[in-house]
Symmetry: C2
């Protein structure tokens, strides 16, 4: 590990520099430059760490991908039409696995935490996404072939060209060093940085060799139009969160006006990637599960925090990242006490997220929470911890946990003028000065006729300051001009009076803060598949999936030991017993040895297997029950089967429990 020490020191050097620059109020451009270098050094450190880490026993991604395609977990959409990159169809196995994960998510979060689930439209009018910042800022840089118009994501193009040149023996040492440096910094590059690299190294279109345009911003939302006229612009939602924000008032009312409360949504999000890759990790259409927890901005404690205080997480804090130190195990209680994690609510959700990920089959040793550095944060966030999972693609962000503060609600308020606030009871009533206009309705009515209503409603909207300004003007000039929608009104002293009085108020209006855990279900699914992929010792061709029973697409296989028709009544009884207990099962009466058929069911992660054999016929009918992970078997009566498998499949019973209840069966042929 001493290999890493110099790299750690080199990160710390720049971490300290960034801190110093910030403290001294250095210009933003200097800080940004230092951060790019800091990130480059962090990246080199991380790559070295991954190289030195003990490898998971010979994981073979191609073998997993072959299995997933062959047994139709998922595969490219519209393949018979040539396929579309970034779009995947889930087959029966993937679909059941995904449905099981979502079901568990719903129980773990919505049911156990009493959240308000909503299901909002995918089609979203432009003004909503203008307010949320997506129209202006949800974009990537791309470059185009100047002749053919073909598009490339600028950072990908630079990466590919740079890697090739670095390998090229003709590249001189100085260029090679510069290119290595580019690769390390690329993530922090803006359009000008990229432009410079493309010009300096004469990067061309990899397809035609033609010149490239300057980097152009490309918005990643899918555009469409609603209705027949063509002028009602809309997008497919890039996240489900906005649907919750625009329903805030209804949800608050549903919760009888009380804070805090959490709303949740499960649904599709869309992102028009320039060039998607890495399988399920980066796709154009994906299932998200998002929680928006609305809380008093001045009190982000969580009533259940005490219950999780001692739960330990692997935290990779911003300060550890800047100091070149690795992620550390830490109880969430200590992390919040030390202000490493901003508040109890955020900390509580990080624990619940961790529990969920482990429950669905993520290896906890390959799971960490990484805090965003200040300049990494999305435009709306004020603290953010990504649950990252280590896969063969590196550390992948699978759940974002952000404190979005009051950004979204305020933006939608600005755009619509609909107040998105909650009332908070004051500890004791407060006396406030009220300055209020009392219009003389009769005079205004006569003076403005059809427009009187608008004038009146504009008057009612004036802030105390505006009221006072108006009053002063009328006092001094004898009249004042009031602009309202559709016109201007000249107001005289006879039209209104100003009333001033004291009022006792019992509540104050607050714009809630939002804590948001946001799950990418496809990414988590892929990580779980990688983490559960195994090869039998001594037989690497025989692969299997150790999915948690609750997640497994099919819970139980049913295998007659031979095709003899005398087994049929027993098989029918087995099927009925399983169906009665709502257990999904798959009967395999293909030819082939029992061992071969076990292998076929192990491969798709079926955790339990029922075999009807020659002993089964004796009254009362019995079968063997096999646990795929250990290949151990017990023997039990058919009438005990449903209850037992149901218990095992829902996690209410462990395999050890089953072994304690039923006699062991020594298997033959399962090798």
């Amino acid at each position: 590990l001493q290999h890493l020490a110099p790299l750690r020191a080199s990160v710390k050097e720049y971490g300290d520099l960034v801190r110093a620059l910030k403290e001294n109020g250095a210009p933003k451009v200097d800080i940004d430059r230092a951060v790019v270098e800091l990130k480059a050094r962090k990246k080199r450190l991380e790559e070295r760490e991954l190289e030195l880490a003990p490898k998971e026993a010979a994981f073979d991604r191609l073998k997993l991908e072959d299995l997933l395609r062959r047994r139709f977990f998922y595969d490219q959409s519209f393949a018979i039409y040539g396929g579309v990159t970034g779009l995947y169809d889930f087959g029966p196995m993937g679909c059941a696995m995904k449905a099981n994960m979502i079901d568990l998510w719903r129980k773990h979060f919505i049911l156990e935490e009493g959240m308000l689930e909503v299901d909002c439209s995918v089609l979203t009018p432009e003004p909503v996404l203008k307010a949320s910042g997506h129209v202006d800022r949800f974009a990537d840089w791309m470059v185009k072939d100047v002749k053919t118009g073909e598009c490339f994501r600028a950072d990908h193009l630079i990466k590919n060209h740079a890697e090739k040149l670095i390998q090229d023996k003709k590249t001189n040492a100085a260029d090679r060093e510069a290119l290595v440096d580019v690769l390390a910094r690329l993530e922090g590059f803006n359009d000008k940085d990229m432009q410079q690299v493309i010009k300096k190294f004469h990067f061309k279109s990899p397809i035609t060799g033609n010149e490239l345009t300057d980097p152009i911003s490309f918005n990643l939302m899918f555009p469409t139009v609603i209705g027949p006229t063509g002028d009602f612009k809309a997008f497919l939602r890039p996240e489900t969160a906005q649907g919750i924000f625009v329903n805030f008032k209804r949800l608050l009312e549903f919760n009888q006006g009380k804070l805090p409360f959490a709303a949740a949504q499960i649904g599709s999000g869309f992102r028009n990637e320039i060039s998607p890759r890495q399988g399920l990790i980066r796709v154009r259409e994906f299932t998200m599960c998002e929680i928006e927890h609305f809380v008093d901005p001045n009190d982000k404690n969580h009533p259940k925090f005490a219950k999780v205080r001692d739960y330990e997480l692997t935290l990779f804090s911003a300060s550890n990242q800047m100091d070149g130190r690795p992620a550390e195990a830490c109880t969430i209680g200590r992390a919040v006490d030390q202000h490493t994690v901003a508040n109890e609510t955020l900390g509580y959700y990080m624990v619940r997220v961790h529990q969920f990920l482990v429950k669905v089959g993520v290896d906890p040793r390959r799971l960490r929470f990484r805090q965003h550095l200040a300049n990494e944060m999305a435009h709306y966030a004020c603290d953010c911890w990504d649950a990252e999972i280590l896969t063969s693609y590196g550390w992948i962000e699978c759940v974002g946990n952000a404190d979005r503060a009051c950004f979204d609600l305020q933006q939608h308020y600005k755009a619509t003028n609909v107040k998105l606030t909650a009332e908070k009871k004051l500890p004791e009533p407060k006396t406030v000065q009220v300055t209020e206009i009392v219009p003389n309705k009769g005079v205004i009515g006569k003076a403005f006729k059809a427009n009187a209503k608008q004038v009146m409603s504009r008057l009612a909207e004036l802030s105390p300051k505006e009221v006072e300004a108006l009053e002063r003007e009328i006092d001094s000039a004898g009249k004042a001009i009031l602009a309202y929608e559709g016109g201007e009104a000249e107001l005289g002293a006879e039209m209104l009076s100003v009333k001033r009085y004291e009022k006792k108020v019992h509540v104050e209006e607050i714009t809630p803060s939002v804590i948001e855990p946001s799950f990418g279900i496809g990414r988590i699914m892929y990580a779980v598949l990688e983490h559960s992929f195994r090869q039998r010792e001594g037989d690497e061709q025989r692969t299997f999936l150790t999915l948690p029973p609750q997640i497994a697409p099919i819970k139980c296989s049913v295998l007659p030991i031979s095709a003899n028709v005398k087994f049929e009544p027993i098989l029918a009884a087995v099927r009925e017993e399983l169906a009665k207990h709502e257990i999904s099962f798959k009967q395999d009466d293909s030819a082939g040895s029992i061992g071969r058929r076990y292998a076929r069911t192990d491969e798709i992660g079926i955790p339990f297997g029922v075999t009807v054999d020659f002993e089964s016929e004796e009254q009362p009918w019995t079968v063997t029950l096999r646990y795929a992970l250990t290949m151990e078997q017990v023997r039990l009566q058919v009438s005990d089967l449903g209850k037992t498998v149901r218990g095992l499949a829902t996690g209410r019973m462990s395999w050890e429990d089953a072994q304690a209840m039923f006699p062991k069966f020594e298997q033959k042929g399962d090798t």
Copy 2:
């Protein structure tokens, strides 16, 4: 009912005429004209039938809609931005109800029938929907204001104008009669018919009074583009079915090559309505559940048909419709025997659909299956029975049950040249004559160089007939021209020989037929809400929903009879007991009488209510359990609560069972 006799006779007159025209091979235009008149007469009959039918006790749609909005079952999307017609957001109540319906659907169909569930992309490339016929035929007629460009759905515009003119006292008798006739025929009108009416009656834009354009076809799919170049056209899928068809090969393989099998998909569909209305009935974004059952076109029997043979459905066959006769109760066995329903598989699904609809709360007296008349059928269907539910909007199509024959698979085959067929084992092997080209690779390679590969692959594709034609031409002319993609090749005798031999084949290739039940979940949900909406006798302000417990958004309410803190430990035990059994519940400790709080929970269809009262404190703790439908109560121990409510909520236990197990409790105050 004798009021209806003349109307029935008038329908039959045209039913007979249509039949006669068809038998005599009359020109299509004459048949179409007769069908329009037939439909007009059918419509008048149906309207009269509905007028005469006994009314469901005073259903008040406004009251229901108010409830659904107020308690956030669902409401218009983006309301704070002014709202978008045809888009709805589901709140906690609607969302849970929808999730419960889908869960039940998954058990009823996917689990019980062993279907293969898939989850495919919403984004669909244009060529896929070109092949399916949607690009050319999924459209409505609209007219535009010639000056402002504002769009109107042509049939809606005609209907509104005509209705107004009919009411107008200045309209003369002849016009009035003509307009009544237009209304009756409108559904069958094409663009020219509509154009004529608009011209004849000088219909103008209802907003500006400006002239209108001729009817223009407007495609109802939402367009978008995939990727950054802007030239990869795509649409949001109008149905989930196409995702299954393009995956047919993978699914067949998953099913080990065997027919029949069924695939199913639950997901969003999109339809860019010109002017949506009628709440959840006609929307732009909706959840569909679709089944595609692939079956041998020559054997559409169903192995489980015997089990449902005696199940009775209300059938409104095409012939009853043409004869002016009403829908009739009929067992599905008889309907298939008499060829009223085309085959067993279609019939089996109609029964399963009926069972599902009744299970989720559709009143079976307001449910019928209506067969499409020959010219009503979608372009792909060869027999179709809609499950129609009677609501305050009339009979609404909620589940389409179509025999799509092999239309879709053949279309995708034509578009992609990928065979979408299954192999069927022949009863006994068959000897066939094979005529095969054996190319002389060396000669072809030399002659065509870079193009040799294309020439060879084109040769391999030739049908036996084409091979023989080619052979004849070379024999007679010494050469023949072969067109291949990208060029033409002049073939000589030295380049190929033709081999003829006999071959024994054991299988034949067939393109499966598809039977498709297609569910509109939002429509069913709305119908269930209407059918379950009730008012307490003697207190019409007190409304409630009698949703089946499995569908109810929340299963149980928890009500302390007073706010006394001494109840808290008992309430905590109740909550824990319910959570342990995964029962969704809502505690209401608002002030107000117990009767008032019961009313609040009844209103949102919570079927069971637990009350903690002063008797509860005695050891062992007891509570009362109330059934909303009957307002009856029993008293039971807290430790029995979870199991009991779980049984009741899943439908495994009836309220009568609970009454037999626990002592009756005489309630006070629930009025």
